[in-house]
């Protein structure tokens, strides 16, 4: 399909030093392989001649990039001896006009390290401030919900439970069961050394129900639903849906944020139970393979080994983790600016921060409830 001849430069010395340019000086011909370096070198060499006559009348086609190349070779002014085709006159006139315009230099914002640190700190406090605001709004919305429960956003809540809870059943089951198997194998090998095989039930029961079940479920949900919530709110900001809601008088907190928080607060403890069950199942099967411990024995021993308060603790953690994940995700979602980069950044930080917050909360739980359930 290339329909143009490549650009050429020929020097002639008949009456006076002259450069005769020919071919098509178009971006498509100039950017073909090897043409550009040859052309730049040729132009540079040619332009070095003093008082050169430029003959551009052989050029079959010229576009702005071609003209700009020549213009740069001429040091941004018209050479004294120039032969042009009339149709190319306009191009150079425009170039002359543009080079006369001053190009403003953008002042580089220079921040010292101290200022950068200050900015990080300020943005941290800003986050904290917004988060407190979000919590306050949530409390008000919950009050309103409690006062008129029939007019609450039930549909949103149920669809959120379906999406964050039901649709996460598969992944949590898989991960839970595999972790159960791994834990069971690891501990049974160690316990066999002491002849304390029966304590496998204690280790699995306590470890999974108290710690691992809620943690695993929380991390998976933060990755799955936290990111989805942030991205959803972010896209709603980009497409101005959030503004449309405000204009129509639909309260964002009540219709978007509270349903998500409530849904995760309901779905998370259920997911915790499910993950616990799957992990214990995996551990139980691995125990049978490794230690010949029968499932019946395992199930009989479990209530003895793990006090009931541990279950409640696990469920409580589930509720708190769910609320935290939803709040962090909403917080980051609402702060997204209407551009693609901010959307990506916001989603990433939402997941990272919610996992961090969940682990922090878990540590707090461990300290507060250190004498319960043993």
């Amino acid at each position: 399909m290339p329909r143009f001849r490549p650009p050429t430069i020929t020097l002639s010395d008949q009456h006076h030093a002259a450069a005769v340019l020919g071919g098509a000086w178009l971006v498509c011909t100039m950017t073909e392989e090897d043409v550009m370096p040859r052309l730049s070198a040729g132009l540079q060499q040619t332009a070095a001649h003093a008082d050169l006559h430029w003959d551009l009348s052989q050029i079959t086609a010229l576009d702005t990039i071609g003209a700009q190349m020549l213009w740069r070779a001429w040091d941004k002014r018209r050479p004294r001896h120039l032969v042009l085709r009339p149709e190319h006159e306009g191009l150079f006139a425009r170039l002359e006009q543009v080079s006369a315009l001053p190009i403003p230099r953008a002042p580089k914002p220079r921040l010292t390290r101290v200022m950068l640190l200050g900015r990080v700190m300020l943005s941290f406090f800003e986050h904290l401030y917004d988060f407190v605001g979000l919590l306050g709004q949530l409390a008000l919305d919950l009050l309103r919900f409690a006062r008129h429960p029939l007019r609450g956003p039930w549909k949103e809540i149920s669809s959120n439970i379906y999406r964050t809870g039901f649709q996460a059943l598969g992944i949590t089951a898989l991960v839970g069961a595999l972790i159960g198997v791994v834990l069971s194998y690891l501990s049974s090998n160690q316990l066999r050394n002491f002849g304390g095989d029966v304590y496998l039930v204690n280790i699995l029961g306590m470890g999974i129900i108290r710690e691992l079940g809620p943690m695993l479920a929380a991390i998976l949900v933060a990755g799955r639903s936290g990111s989805a919530i942030t991205a959803q709110l972010g896209v709603m900001r980009v497409t101005e849906e959030l503004d449309a809601m405000t204009v129509m008088g639909i309260p964002q907190g009540y219709r978007l944020i509270m349903p998500k928080v409530v849904a995760l607060a309901i779905a998370m403890p259920l997911l915790v139970i499910w993950t616990d069950a799957m992990a214990l199942l995996g551990g139980m099967l691995a125990a049978q393979a490794q230690l010949d411990m029968s499932p019946a024995f395992f199930l009989n021993k479990l209530p003895e080994a793990v006090a009931l308060s541990n279950y409640w603790l696990g469920l409580g953690k589930g509720v708190v983790f769910g609320i935290l994940i939803a709040l962090v995700a909403c917080q980051f979602g609402l702060r997204i600016q209407p551009n693609t980069e901010s959307l990506g950044q916001g989603t990433t930080s939402s997941v990272v921060i919610s996992i961090t917050v969940v682990i922090l909360a878990d540590a707090v739980f461990a300290v507060i409830f250190s004498n319960i359930g043993y």
């Binding site: 971006v27 498509c28 950017t31 213009w71 425009r94 551009n339």
Partner: protein
């Protein structure tokens, strides 16, 4: 050369599920003209434009650009064609993560052969062509108004000096004054760069001010193609409603007084949905 068809659409059929949008549609775009495509909402103007750009594949039929079927698997010069054509999307479609300067520089940097200093000069040249003050070059698209975004998108579409320029609703969402200057801008660029322009529009003023020919899409095909004067004379209920309503009559005054220049007397903003 001026009468050669640069785009040749033959027996095109477009279907979404069971809804047929185009059936047996034929259309030729000649070199150097400004062809406007008009039609009611849902008549498939934008889809047709997207098909010419290779963004959507028609159910049946061929679209040949410079003699090559762009939807065929054997097409060898798609990349070449992409570089030789520019598209102005309805909402600009600027890369929101890049500054104005980088947006316009992007197509040139993508060639990987042009020196950065040349690109720098080219960007300012294109910005000047699109009538954008240089002080906006370092701004981000989210800081700009809709009209600015459109003109910057035009500068980006023109970055590689395309032979073929596609415009999707170029004046929609611009104020009348901006709309007029946009029309002038496209006219002057068309003259200077010997562009072929394919435009989809609802705006009657810019339609009559710009078009060399108008193609009317209705009843799933091209109802008629011709100069604005020819098209308005065709007897068809759609054409009568579209062109001969109150707005149409006002906009058409520009056709009756050719010496008044390309800019209509009654600039008005039309955005029909």
């Amino acid at each position: 050369m001026t009468d050669a068809a640069i785009i040749d659409i033959q027996n095109l059929r477009t279907q979404f599920g069971r809804a047929v949008v185009h059936d047996n549609l034929n259309l030729q775009v000649r070199q150097g003209e400004i062809l406007s495509i008009v039609g009611g909402s849902g008549s498939g103007k934008t889809v047709l434009l997207r098909q010419m750009l290779g963004l959507e594949v028609p159910k049946r039929g061929t679209i040949k650009i410079l003699g090559e079927d762009i939807h065929s698997r054997q097409a060898k010069h798609i990349q070449y064609l992409r570089k030789r054509s520019g598209m102005l999307f309805q909402h600009g479609a600027l890369y929101s993560a890049l500054s104005v300067f980088d947006n316009v520089a992007q197509p040139m940097r993508e060639l990987r052969t042009l020196p950065e200093a040349l690109i720098h000069d080219m960007v300012y040249l294109k910005l000047q062509m699109a009538d954008i003050g240089f002080e906006h070059a370092r701004k981000m698209p989210s800081d700009l108004s809709g009209g600015m975004i459109k003109r910057i998108a035009l500068a980006r579409a023109l970055a590689l000096d395309p032979e073929l320029l596609f415009l999707d609703e170029p004046t929609a969402g611009l104020d009348p004054d901006r709309s007029d200057s946009f029309v002038k801008l496209i006219l002057s660029l068309h003259k200077q760069l010997s562009l072929t322009v394919v435009m989809v529009t609802h705006d009657l003023d810019s339609l009559f001010a710009l078009s060399t020919r108008i193609a009317v899409l209705a009843d799933k095909k091209v109802l008629t193609v011709g100069t604005p004067q020819e098209v308005v004379k065709v007897e068809h209920p759609f054409i009568e409603r579209f062109f001969l309503g109150g707005r149409g009559n006002r906009a058409m005054e520009v056709l009756e007084q050719p010496d008044q220049g390309p800019v209509p007397d009654h600039p008005q903003q039309h955005k029909e949905n």
